[in-house]
């Protein structure tokens, strides 16, 4: 429905009444900046001097009550609502592709509660994750959610896309670390999931909202479990002849013990990124890991690791490279180190059982390299489970087409080929970056008839379809 004349101002007044005059903006400069997140197409678009997608209103609520008021207004006027935390997502999930409202949650940034007895911490969804970590660290604890976006991503963002950190092999993903949520439903109702994640009270409500990317409601608060900062953390690195040997070694390790970090890089990534950032100049498949906890146990686990790596021909590279990787774990993501425009790139992370993962690696590698001339493919495995692992595989196009439409076409074709290669071999559409706008079109292929479950939820909770349209295939 078109808004004529001063209708925009009428809505603006209503929003200002809900959250305060200072917390509603239609400033053109501010609106411009919400049109770019970490999604490559959004970056390419502005890099070429094109106008990004812009919201009609920027709204900054301070708590769940204000979020509720905003959603009620949005429903009445049928205004799309796009929730924005840190804006550091790579899938375009927060982009205001349909105008409407950007709901910026960063005013909701308080740490609300901390329990030494239960080892929990409660924070609002707009809190930068680093700040929550620092608070916990001061008291001798950690959530152990340490992603590369730790210093810029919000609590809500991590939950909304079902994120992961480098320590996940030991401490789990964000969905394992979260105990309960407060969510504002699209109709403005404020709900809480059950106070504990383990129960026999029906399906897990929490898991419906974690990973929902703002399509089913707005997460406003979360409770996380805390773990003690370990007595010690020991690093080691190994070099395998090839990715296959490395994969076998890592599987054997994780099926018996749980390193906090275990990262296996294929040769392409070993001779490029690893060489660049930590200076290791060898061919083969580099692996670094960390084991942590009580020192006695760490030493036993490290002995086991040595045995397994030796069995698969892994050369001990000492502790130095592992430590250096850890010190530089965030450095990788600063300008000058990270891939940047005009390169085209994407991370086609997928996850599968050990039966399928090596097959998937080669299928994706061939899908990209055989079908797209000059496109590089690098990969590493960084998050491990008893049953399988994920591949953090990236494609890089050094000289993408100049024309933006052609660039988008190529970008999406590469994604289609890569992700379908994964899905056809038992992998899933994405491991931990989410779906967003980027992969929305592939959700029905992933889920098949099961998609109706998600669609049914969406239809029931958001009958006006205002919550983050075009994202998550919903």
């Amino acid at each position: 429905m078109e808004k004529k004349a001063f209708m925009v101002n009428m809505i603006q007044s209503e929003l200002e009444d809900a959250v305060g005059v200072d917390n509603v903006s239609m400033d053109p400069a501010e609106m411009f900046t919400y049109g770019v997140d970490y999604f490559w197409i959004s970056r390419m678009w502005v890099d070429k001097g094109l106008e990004p997608p812009k919201p009609e209103f920027i709204v900054r609520p301070k708590d769940a009550k204000e979020v509720s008021k905003v959603l009620k207004i949005a429903n009445y006027y049928k205004l799309p609502v796009h929730t924005w935390g840190g804006g550091s997502g790579s899938q375009g999930s927060a982009l205001p592709m349909t105008g409407g409202i950007i709901l910026d949650v960063k005013r909701m940034n308080r740490i609300l509660d901390y329990s030494e007895v239960s080892r929990t911490i409660t924070a609002e969804s707009g809190a930068i994750f680093q700040h929550v970590e620092w608070y916990a660290n001061e008291r001798g604890y950690s959530i152990m959610h340490i992603p590369s976006c730790l210093t810029c991503g919000t609590v809500g963002g991590a939950l909304a896309h079902r994120g992961i950190g480098i320590m996940s092999t030991k401490y789990g993903k964000i969905d394992d670390q979260c105990i309960s949520l407060e969510v504002v439903l699209p109709n403005g109702d404020i709900i809480n999931t059950l106070p504990v994640p383990k129960h026999a009270a029906g399906p897990d409500l929490q898991q419906i909202f974690i990973g929902s990317e703002g399509t089913l409601g707005v997460i406003t608060k979360a409770v996380f479990k805390l773990v003690e900062i370990p007595e010690c953390r020991k690093f080691r690195a190994f070099l395998f002849k090839d990715f296959s040997d490395g994969l076998a070694a890592c599987r054997e390790i994780v099926q018996k013990i749980k390193p906090s970090i275990i990262r296996l890089f294929d040769e392409a990534e070993t001779v490029s990124i690893i060489k660049k950032v930590i200076g290791m100049e060898r061919k083969g498949s580099f692996m670094n890991l960390a084991v942590e906890g009580l020192e006695e146990i760490v030493d036993i686990e490290m002995r086991y690791i040595f045995e397994v790596c030796s069995k698969y021909g892994g050369e001990d590279m000492g502790a130095e490279y592992g430590e250096k990787w850890y010190e530089n774990r965030i450095t990788f993501f600063y300008p000058g180190h990270i891939m940047n425009n005009p390169q085209m790139f994407g991370t086609m992370d997928t996850v599968a059982t050990f039966d399928n993962i090596e097959k998937i690696y080669w299928a994706m590698k061939h899908a990209v390299e055989d079908n797209f001339e000059g496109v590089k493919f690098i990969a590493h495995c960084s998050h491990w489970y008893d049953w399988g692992t994920m591949i953090y595989d990236r494609f890089i196009v050094d000289n993408p087409p100049e024309d933006p439409e052609e660039a988008i076409r190529l970008h999406n074709q590469i994604w289609n080929e890569g992700v379908r290669a994964a899905m056809e071999n038992g992998g899933v559409i994405n491991d931990h970056h989410g779906i967003g706008l980027k992969l929305s079109r592939l959700m029905k292929e992933q889920y098949g008839p099961a998609m109706q479950v998600l669609e049914g939820l969406k239809k029931s909770l958001d009958p006006n379809g205002i919550m983050n349209p075009y994202k998550l295939g919903l």
């Binding site: 400033d27 501010e30 900046t33 919400y34 910026d104 909701m108 940034n109 700040h131 993501f333 300008p335």
Partner: protein, 363 residues
């Protein structure tokens, strides 16, 4: 309009969010525009055919220029480079927000502050000798709302029997004018005039009370080649040296407190320890607060306080939150601007005091 250096920094920052967690303004306003990335994005669009407009230029003033972002960047990028150039553009194109225009007009007239220098301080300075070995450079805020800090420091110099003077007609350094309009010719001229005045006193040492002025002297003035052959030293370092030399013997003030590192002192001048040593000499038990030393958060910024007083106050209140987090009720700082901002926003049940006022009270 933007230099190659500014665009290089803007291009680096435009898609990077990594320093978001240390921006004192963004953390309290919750506004996406209040951190380095979106400002870099807007500037980076200029060579790409979307020039920075009045709205974009206006947002550039919502920044303390505290360099928390610069300090955080592991690859050495420097957002203030393009923010300052954007401010220059705003001045050249007469696209300043109205409130900023008023502040700039005042600064061009003489000082960005509306109030006049403190009478008592002015009278006291007139009684000082015309020439001396040590010149005490007080700065704009030290002569006005921060005059108690200046007076305390002068008391200490006299207790240490230092042969010092200060300028009755002390010119502004040019630091604040530079932050308003970028480091352009007008600012250089203002700074040159200031340097000439300082050179004419016959002093060998210039003790600078306000870290913003001292950083400006040591960086911008040095780069322009207009720094005279004088020793420029921060008030904290000079005072610590007096204590070391037993010219000042502090009594004990045994209580616990937390300390706020002034951002210009900690980051621009890379000085964090003299203030701590002074506190130790006084017997103050220091509990470090969240984000200290080079990670310090800005107190609200002297210029931001003039341009956007409410925003500045919110930033200061954010820092008070860090004092609570440290579990302390007493906050000490060593900069006249910080002292004024914290005093003006002190929450109930808490206290804030300037380091030199405290030291003077026990000497």
């Amino acid at each position: 309009m933007f230099t190659e250096k500014a665009i290089k920094n803007a291009d680096a920052c435009r898609f990077c969010w990594m320093c978001r967690h240390v921006c004192p303004v963004g953390l309290v306003t919750g506004k996406e525009i209040n951190n380095a990335r979106p400002k870099g994005l807007l500037v980076s669009m200029e060579p790409r055919g979307i020039p920075l407009d009045e709205y974009g230029m206006g947002t550039m003033y919502e920044c303390c220029l505290c360099k928390a972002c610069t300090n955080d960047c592991v690859t050495g990028y420097d957002p203030p480079v393009y923010i300052l150039e954007a401010r220059t553009k705003a001045v050249v194109e007469d696209s300043l927000p109205k409130n900023v225009r008023k502040v700039l007009d005042r600064a061009l007239e003489g000082s960005m502050y509306q109030d006049s220098p403190d009478e008592k301080l002015t009278v006291r300075i007139k009684e000082l000798p015309e020439k001396a070995e040590v010149l005490f450079f007080i700065g704009e805020i030290g002569r006005r709302s921060g005059s108690k800090v200046a007076q305390a420091y002068m008391d200490l110099l006299e207790k240490a029997k230092i042969n010092y003077t200060s300028l009755t007609d002390e010119p502004t350094s040019g630091a604040q004018l530079g932050e308003l309009m970028g480091h352009v010719e007008d600012v250089r001229n203002r700074a040159s005039f200031c340097m000439e005045r300082l050179s004419g006193i016959g002093a060998k040492t210039v003790v600078v009370l306000d870290p913003t002025d001292c950083a400006f002297f040591k960086h911008e003035c040095a780069e322009w080649g207009i720094l005279p052959n004088l020793e420029f030293v921060t008030a904290t370092e000079y005072m610590w040296n007096l204590i070391k030399d037993a010219k000042i013997v502090p009594g004990k003030k045994e209580f616990s407190a937390t300390y706020h590192d002034p951002c210009r002192l900690a980051r621009d001048l890379e000085e964090t320890e003299p203030a701590r040593k002074i506190m130790e000499a006084m017997g103050i038990k220091l509990k470090e607060m969240f984000l200290n030393r080079k990670l310090t958060k800005c107190c609200g910024g002297a210029l931001l306080h003039q341009n956007y007083p409410e925003m500045s106050k919110t930033v200061t209140e954010g820092r008070w939150g860090d004092v609570s987090w440290a579990g302390e009720k007493m906050l000490v700082t060593a900069c006249p601007a910080c002292a004024v901002h914290f005093q003006d926003t002190v929450p109930k049940g808490m206290e804030s005091e300037d380091l030199f006022i405290l030291l003077n009270s026990v000497c």
